[in-house]
């Protein structure tokens, strides 16, 4: 197949295919809606490329299988949805502490608790503030199209190897289920550091230890700062965002993932009615594109944060703008997918109430 052709793909399948093309040869996961198609896709595809697919007995077992495979030097991944990601938090903390590369996909469903299987953005805090224990951070990507799911999945393995870190892809239920045409451009070769830490049998070399227990507090402090320096480097290099019609915008909508798709439609509508509104779409949720948001909102009078939750990313927007610009929240939690017309009405209402002209 000519790699420049467009292929119609479902979000979940695009994630699976991108992982395979990125060289992932170990998938461990457990069924949970709305991402069951990912393990199902991998169950078929891994066999075709001589990789490993194993349905673990739980999300806990799966993340630990990923850990073992990653420590052995393989590109490994797992996927789940909200409650299953809660179960994986110990594993994520260990992956970060052990500095092992891995991809974790969260297809965010309604919550908290058992919730529902509809798309939601209620896991933002969990993804960006931990959610495992200890002093670590983890890159989190929030794609907004099937093409971006493919691109980000492929890139995530390189980021994971480059920084020796777990990486999360945070999609919502909508992202997993939509079907769009994509270019499968394949893997771009980049130079990665050698994997001189993996455990594959100490033949001809000293034995290695992969551990995160550091009983001596002075050494532990040093380890924590070492990790922080890595995260500071990530903060400099990794932030990604998309800006849409922000140059002359007096009001800027900030949203990610499916919410950003909806918001973009809303911004186009209100622009047609003459309102100077723009959109900023963070693509990395951690590291959050603070600098870009601060710069792009300099001349804005109002920021409207639209989230499919009761408001979590808005905290990071407020931190980024440091109180210079008023922030309003429009939230639709619980799995509700708003239409662009609704967001357009909300935008116009805020504009008129604030007399932004």
């Amino acid at each position: 197949m000519d790699k420049l052709e467009k292929v119609l793909m479902k979000g979940t399948d695009a994630i699976g295919e991108a992982a395979i093309q990125a060289g992932c040869r170990c998938y461990f996961g457990y069924p949970i809606t709305p991402q069951n198609e990912i393990p199902e896709y991998m169950a078929r595809r891994m066999d075709e490329v001589g990789g490993v697919f194993l349905q673990g007995e739980s999300e806990i077992a799966s993340i630990n299988m990923v850990l073992g495979a990653a420590a052995s030097g393989a590109r490994a991944m797992t996927s789940s949805s909200s409650p299953g990601i809660s179960l994986k938090q110990e594993g994520l903390s260990f992956l970060a502490a052990l500095e092992l590369p891995a991809l974790i996909v969260n297809i965010n469903r309604g919550g908290p608790g058992l919730g529902n299987i509809a798309p939601s953005q209620g896991d933002y805090y969990q993804a960006t503030r931990g959610g495992g224990h200890g002093d670590y951070r983890m890159p989190v990507y929030a794609p907004a199209s099937v093409q971006e799911l493919y691109d980000v999945t492929m890139k995530a393995f390189d980021i994971a190897d480059m920084y020796r870190s777990p990486v999360m892809l945070l999609g919502d239920g909508m992202m997993g289920q939509i079907v769009e045409p994509i270019h499968m451009h394949g893997r771009e070769e980049i130079e990665l550091p050698p994997k001189d830490y993996i455990l594959d049998g100490a033949e001809g070399r000293p034995s290695r230890i992969v551990k995160s227990l550091v009983l001596d507090v002075r050494l532990m402090e040093e380890h924590n700062w070492k990790l922080k320096r890595k995260y500071d480097l990530m903060r400099k290099v990794l932030p990604l965002h998309e800006e849409f019609m922000t140059e002359d915008a007096k009001m800027i909508v900030i949203a990610y993932g499916t919410a950003a798709r909806i918001a973009k439609g809303a911004v186009k509508r209100v622009r047609a009615d003459g309102f100077q509104v723009g959109l900023i779409r963070p693509i990395t949720l951690w590291p959050f594109p603070d600098e870009a948001i601060a710069a792009l909102t300099k001349r804005a009078k109002l920021i409207l944060v639209f989230e499919m939750s009761t408001g979590q990313m808005i905290d990071d927007v407020r931190l980024a703008t440091q109180g210079r610009v008023d922030c309003e929240l429009y939230g639709r939690p619980g799995g509700v997918v708003a239409a662009p017309q609704e967001i357009a009405r909300i935008i116009e209402r805020h504009w008129l109430q604030r007399e932004l002209q």
Partner: protein, 250 residues
């Protein structure tokens, strides 16, 4: 005179941090002797537990990967599926194998994962100060069963090894003890067999080794080894519970 017993090469020179009379020290030495004798240092990966033996990597001169409490069999699965020609073994205690790790253990065995587990059973949670374990015996006093384990409140000692022996994916399941020199040597034989079963690709291999914890049993090492033989071995009978290589031959 010829030297007939010395420290295995695969055991790093660090003095053990284990308590006087702890079974871990003996079992570590047996594992190291086997790694030397079978010449497998270059292709073996060890996954220690959360427990007193979390520091096993200070002693075994082989690639070692830390595990969160109970997850050893899942991590071992990840290694073995990724590198099928390496020898992967978990070294776990009561809580790791039979409490928090019950699901991972049973399912690794059920899948017939071609890994080996060495299960050190001392009927108590040692590292955390002597709390009740799933394997704690009825009437046994621990810090969280101060009145002695009562079946009505705390249930029964869990014979996880017997459960595993019933699974089709389990290829070799045995229970041994370190109570006497003869039993220590029998333990070594059983662990060797469990590693050979992995090398032959036959399925999951488990050796439960009854071991003393003098500190948390609150007795001297000599008394602990007596208790091991006179009490623990009655509750947990020694023997080979499953061996598919024997079944094949008969």
């Amino acid at each position: 005179m010829k030297k007939v017993f010395s420290r295995p090469k695969c055991l790093k020179p660090a003095p053990f941090h284990y308590c006087p009379g702890c079974g871990h020290s003996i079992i570590h030495r047996l594992v190291a002797e086997l790694i030397d004798e079978m010449d497998i240092r270059g292709r073996t990966i060890c996954i220690p537990p959360a427990g007193c033996a979390v520091l096993a990597y200070n002693y075994f001169d082989i690639d070692t990967c830390e595990s969160a409490h109970g997850r050893g069999c899942a991590i071992a699965t990840g290694f073995k599926r990724s590198l099928p020609d390496r020898i992967v073994f978990t070294y776990q205690g009561d809580g790791d194998m039979a409490a928090i790790g019950t699901a991972e253990t049973i399912h690794a065995a059920n899948r017939g994962e071609i890994i080996t587990s060495i299960f050190v059973n001392n009927a108590v949670y040692g590292m955390t100060g002597g709390q009740m374990a799933p394997t704690t015996m009825l009437g046994q006093k621990t810090t969280t069963s101060p009145y002695g384990r009562r079946s009505k409140v705390e249930g029964y000692p869990l014979k996880i090894t017997d459960l595993i022996a019933q699974l089709e994916g389990a290829a070799y399941v045995a229970r041994t003890s370190v109570a006497t020199p003869a039993k220590v040597l029998a333990t070594k034989k059983a662990i060797k067999k469990a590693l050979e079963v992995q090398m032959q690709g036959l399925g999951y291999a488990l050796v439960e080794v009854l071991s003393p914890c003098p500190t948390n049993w609150k007795v001297s090492p000599k008394e602990a080894f007596k208790y091991l033989e006179e009490v623990m071995e009655k509750q947990y009978p020694l023997g080979v519970l499953k061996d598919i290589t024997q079944a094949k031959e008969s």
